[in-house]
Symmetry: C2
Subunit: 176 residues, 2 copies
């Protein structure tokens, strides 16, 4: 437990806020915690009938490179994560899923951010229409499960949530 002595928001942005907390530690010392507030996000492991994983390729400014990722997106205020998963899957890939199941939730980087990532498993895909956000440029890529796992192990896939989703795939039957 870390008791908050003082809390100050130094930046309010469109996706994140930055908050500085002075805290008292369990050992009596004080420390400063830099906290990036994030609304939370969903990632979608969407499988086609042939088993291929629907992925997106997009440029990520923060890391200055293109990444191959699971479709994903931020939660809107008050939005149900499962509805967000359906919405983001369709926005980014054009696919509508007849079945979406919850897999798991994790913190992406709890050392400095409260971002949670809810992973979902989507099947029964039907082609709808892509309509990405105005500031998104996203290509859809469909990749076999074996190839995706090889890319995780060889470094061809470098996004945390995507690696987790691909690694958990062989546990899906136990989960759903």
């Amino acid at each position: 437990m870390e008791k908050t002595l003082e809390s100050r928001t130094v930046y309010r942005g469109s996706i994140i806020n930055l908050r500085l907390d002075s805290v008292e530690l369990g050992n009596g010392r004080t420390a400063l915690r830099e906290v990036v507030e994030h609304p939370g996000a969903v990632g979608i492991l969407a499988l086609k009938k042939n088993g291929d994983i629907v992925m997106v390729r997009q440029y990520r400014k923060a890391v200055e490179r293109e990444l191959l990722e699971l479709p994903a997106g931020k939660l809107e205020k008050g939005e149900d994560p499962k509805e967000c998963a359906a919405r983001e899957l369709e926005e980014e890939t054009g696919y509508r899923a007849s079945d979406i199941r919850y897999i798991m939730t994790f913190y992406t980087s709890p050392g400095f951010s409260n971002e949670v990532m809810h992973l979902f498993y989507a099947t029964g895909l039907d082609r709808g229409e892509k309509h990405p956000d105005e500031d998104e440029v996203v290509d859809t890529v469909e990749i076999g499960q074996k190839e995706a796992l090889d890319m995780v192990l060889s470094g061809g896939i470098r996004d945390g949530k995507t690696i987790t989703g691909i690694l958990i795939l062989n546990r899906i039957n136990e989960l759903t």
Copy 2:
């Protein structure tokens, strides 16, 4: 590719910086990117002779709860990731490892941060002395692999790097 039109650092902190980039997208539009700069980190999957995973339990202010995680820590300036892994393992758990191998590198949250996480696999553990940073209060916990996997699937383990490390464990022999 997103061309940077303007870049401004609005916060320089002890662990992170916050930078705002105006960018020109591939579709000609402009957008603002909020980028949290982080020095990068390592996580260590350390196995005892009996197969137990050495983990740490610590309070994470950003998420206001205690988490069970792999030992981990930030890279110091210019530090080699493998040396950082050895250092952090000993600082947080007191264990020295005779063998440390690289597993993989991933971005924890590339939508808003450049943080990279390098995962290592450590064996040949020898009890040394714990000496955590002054602002760290960390307990060591040793957990069987089966129990750890159950905790990933049931939500008892919620930290992204830790989930990735536990899920990749059954691929380790292919990797090393």
